[in-house]
Amino acid sequence: MKKHDVILIVVILVIAGGWFGYMQMSGNGDAGTVVVTVDGEVYGEYDLTKDQTVSIHDTNVLTIKDKTADMTEADCPDKLCVHQKAISRDGESIICLPNKVVVSVVSGQAREYDAVVK
């Protein structure tokens, strides 16, 4: 490994870390709604606080429970969306590429601060 290799790796790590931090900061809302889009078009919006099961075009089944949304069934072969963890925070999403289904959390209310130091 040369010096430049290490610099390259550190730079990429810093970018990834910064990005992750930004995502954590901006995605800190309370339980809101999940928006389901299929092929770029909005399929429906569902309240995260209500436990319910949503069937999306008979290809995917979304289960909302305990303020989290989880893809429980999909007819695609790889089932990557089913294996993804349940989502609950603003900005998080579950994506099923074969069926072009995107489930993302949109916080209902504006983001609140944990604390303000003066």
């Binding site: 990429i12 990834a16 992750f20 770029g40 900005g91 590429l97």
Partner: protein, 164 residues
Amino acid sequence: MKNKVAYFGVFVALALIFSYVESLIPIQIGVPGIKLGLANLIVVIALYKMGVKEAYLLSVTRVILAGFIFGSMFSILYSLAGGLLSLTVMALLRRTGKFSVIGVSVAGGVFHNVGQLIVAALVVETFQVGYYFPVLMVAGIITGIVIGILSNEMLKRLRDIQLS
């Protein structure tokens, strides 16, 4: 070089075999969609031993063949975007002469993932996949280092074989 076609055929076959081996052992590290990218090893070797043009040809041939055998139209699209972006960055970094095989391979691994994610964002018409970027970048670094070390060892042993 007189045996160019033969060598190229062997490289394509090797890359295909690696794709196959990889499809047999899904290495799950908690996050879906992450794999080692063994076939990338062959692309790196081709980049160093045969040249940029040959590496591009090899990468495209491998993606299309592997896609038809193991994947789908979608996986060809993703792999092609990832493969071409990663190879472009690797070729540029190699040209600067400031990076070793490991650095080049790390950049390749990271940009392979970035390219795929960009296509994914375009296909599903959302930028929500942004959440996935940092994870895939770190994964790209790790797999890039592994592939880089392997490439380095292979290149050492291939030193006497002239392919370009």
